[in-house]
Amino acid sequence: MVEIARNVDPDYRARFEAVPTADPRMETLRQLLVGREISELSRVTELLDEPAQLATAVGGVLPSAAAQAPHAQLGEALAPAVERAVQRSIQKSPRTLTDILYPVFLPAIRKSIGEKIDQTFQSLNETLRHIFTWHGLKWRVEAWRTGASFSEVVLKHSLVYRVEHVFLINRNSGLLIAHVTADNATSEDPQLISSMLSAIQDFVKDSFNEKEQSGLDTIRFGELRLWSEVGPLATLVAVIRGNPPEELHEIFRDVLLRIHDESSEVLEQFDGDTSQLFGIEARLQTCVELKQEDTNQGFPWLVLALVLLLLVPVGAWFFFSWQSGQRWQTYVSRLEAQPGIIVAEQKIRGGQFYVAGLRDPLAVDPQALLSGTEVDPARVHAQWQSYESLEPQFVLKRLTASLAPPDTVRLSVVKDRIVAEGEATDTWIEKARAAARQLSAGGPVFDVSGVRDVSPEARAAERWQAYVSRLETQPGIIVAEQKIRDGQFYVAGLRDPLAADPQSLLSGTEVDPARVHAQWQSYQSLEPRFVLKRLAASLAPPDTVRLSVVDDRIVAEGEATDTWIDNARAAARQLSAGGPVFDVSGVRDVSPEAREAERWQAYVSRLGRQPGIVVAEQRIRDGQFYIAGLRDPLGVDPQSLLLGTRLDPARVHAQWQFYQSLEPEFVLKRLTASLAPPDTVRLTIVKDRIVAEGEATATWINRARAAAQQLAADGVAMDVSQLQELNLAELNQLKAAIQGTDIFFYSGKALPGPEQTPVLDRLAEQLKEFAQGARKSGVTARFMLTGHSDATGRETANVSISAARAEAVRALLNKRGVAPELLLVRGAGTFEPVVPENSRTGSSTNRRVSVTVNLE
């Protein structure tokens, strides 16, 4: 027992060491009595002394001991130790714990990263692999420090990319200005790549109608990405392997900007000579040094598995309380941000949340804010004291409730002051001022000065003033006096009878007419427009005279009889001295007869100038007009020329004899009608001679010659010497050549084989030549392309392949410049074989497209 005690308690052992054990008999006796126990004890002591052995021994029974212990007690006993252990573990190596929590965090983190991942090309596995490494923890700290989400930080660090090449390309020519490569990156000829990139840019721009400055900024080929930044003079293109982060765009843009800054002159004058460019490569070099290497760290699976077994429950508790704490904190900070709520105190205890503070009854309900925060409302204990917040928006609400401002007043918060604007009656304004004075010292200022006093009387007076000033601006009205007394309005003054009626001006002013008392003295206004009105009334000018005011003068213009002009002159003299001048000098003296004679003469001389009309005689008698002469039926109708002359047609008596005018233009018209020249012939008049030019058939030319002879007899010259006979023979030959051409196909093919290319080339040239020739002779040529097939296979398939062949030939001819509207297509299937199918060359000869020429 002593030995056991010794071993258990070192102090005890020390005390016993001092006791002498000299007596040998005692030793013998001890051996006899408890020898077996001693040896057993020393074995146990040895076991206890040797930590390694002890550990093995305890380890053997520990699991079953733990299993048999009452759960509650064991938990109680272990909890402090485990908590301490966790604490220690975090202090010593946070990574271990992170590793442990892996499966617990996994679902939550996976969700948050999942959202980000959509925005990037990084793979999920890549990301997760990095979370539970030492970096993972560093990144969490970084996320906490920068306020970015953890997944964002993870992505930022785990993007693995390398900038392999950077090209600087002249925007104008696509020529390479500079190029740098990362170590051991390879590529084709950079000059070629540079030009091709700019060609692609051009192509995209053209094809999709892109705007000038923008362009193709990302191209992807598998692992490689091409990012381009377009500057005014040069484009920077980076070739990146892997997944670059978005910020890289910024870096490139910055480099491009610097290059433009430093070398703008050289860039502007760049003509393909790169020997002048210093410093640009060094700038680009900074871009290719950009990369993010993949640090391929192993994952501590073994440690993880071991510790996991022990600490899963702790981890779970740790995580959930951390998570709900987090949610609570968001809720509290949301509360704190609310106006009218002051959080005085808040804490979490035993999984319950406590909050206390002040709250304005007008502020939002804190309970309502809970929804959406995922904080369990049952665990929230809140205590709110009501108070009246002095924040302007609350004061505003309270003021609105107590003052009940009319619709014409608007209350608003402007820079912490409450401002009332608009119109109100004086009683309301008084109330508002009282409220403003009552507002407690610390509260916001309530500014009522912006409200206009609009009591009904004031309003009526305002309207009256508006009416009076409107009267004052009226020409012909002079307001001498006006006043308001006992709700009645008085106005007195002078008024020209021709001026606007003051009574009618009242309508729409909302001034009560019954309360208006006006006294107007008549006077004659000397303002030109009134004088004009009076003159117009007294002189009654005819329709042909126009009176107007020009620079304060009254001007009469037009034609009038001499009597009227005399009247007007008298009036002008009578006009009182201070009045405007009346100028009658612009009125011509025209008696009706003289006027009509003048018009008639104008008409007759106009007729005389008409080709195809010969006036023989004309006169005026007793107000009637007479005219006689010759007219060509192809010339204008004299009757129609009367229109607009103001002559009375009923008083015009005309006698016209028809004749054929020999003036060239009439002859030309007659010839065109009788000879019907083809489109290829042009008839023109050259120095009184009629000239026929162009190409026509021999028959037509003969008819034209006969006509020319006849005309010569009448003294009209017609030149037919420039007519040429159409060369139809040539066209016919061409037609035979075209119709003799066949395009052949291989079995089952809708496109002709390459050996048909020269045939197609020749055919296209012939078709174009023929179409042009035909057009010259005034006809349109159309070409029917008929597709044929051999007899193998089903007839429906044959018909469709024959049509497809005809279509293909049409497209190929079109590509060679034959206008598509001239080409007609049809598929004949097997119905029009050129040779019998069973002959030796049968099927291969029948697989063809033939051409026929139609003239329209």
Binding site: N172, G174, L175, L192, S195, D202, F203, G272, T757, G817
Partner: protein
């Protein structure tokens, strides 16, 4: 490094692509693959006083001037106008293309190539016409992408012109 952008212009199937291949790779092929959009090649040319890299933009031939993508020519310093000596119409096409380009970007050095000179019996361009064009001071060459005749001369001449 001195580089110049050169554009190959001309009608459809006149041999632009074939000329570039002959000049750059010294090969010729009978098979005709029409160019879609643009094809870019490079060749360094050694002149007496310098070396210039010609960046050759081989554009799709268009007989129809309307569909010609003139924007590809932006920044070019020289043109190779190609005519098919067996098709008279391609001369007009080449000249129209040049006018279109000059209207857009101003005058620039060019050489005029009458290609397929090996097809003697199909040749349709009269010598007088070629003389006329030379009279205007133009650099005119009768080339064959098939035999390689005058191809290098023409490109070398243009290289000299654009580096002056």
């Amino acid at each position: 490094m001195l580089q110049k952008k050169i554009c190959m212009l001309g009608g459809f199937s006149v041999g632009k692509t074939s000329l570039v291949r002959r000049f750059v790779q010294s090969i010729f092929s009978e098979t005709y693959l029409t160019t879609v959009g643009v094809k870019i090649d490079k060749k360094s040319v050694v002149l007496p006083d310098k070396t210039v890299d010609l960046i050759l933009w081989d554009l799709a031939g268009e007989d129809d001037i309307g569909s010609f993508r003139v924007s590809y020519v932006r920044g070019a310093t020289g043109l190779v106008l190609v005519v098919d000596g067996t098709r008279a119409a391609t001369l007009a096409a080449a000249l129209t293309l040049r006018e279109r380009v000059e209207a857009e970007f101003g005058a620039m050095p060019f050489v005029l190539l009458f290609n397929k000179s090996d097809l003697v019996d199909k040749w349709v361009i009269p010598d007088s016409e070629i003389d006329d064009l030379r009279q205007r001071g133009w650099q005119v060459y009768l080339t064959s992408a098939l035999t390689g005749e005058h191809v290098d001369d023409a490109f070398l001449q243009l290289a000299t012109m654009v580096t002056k």
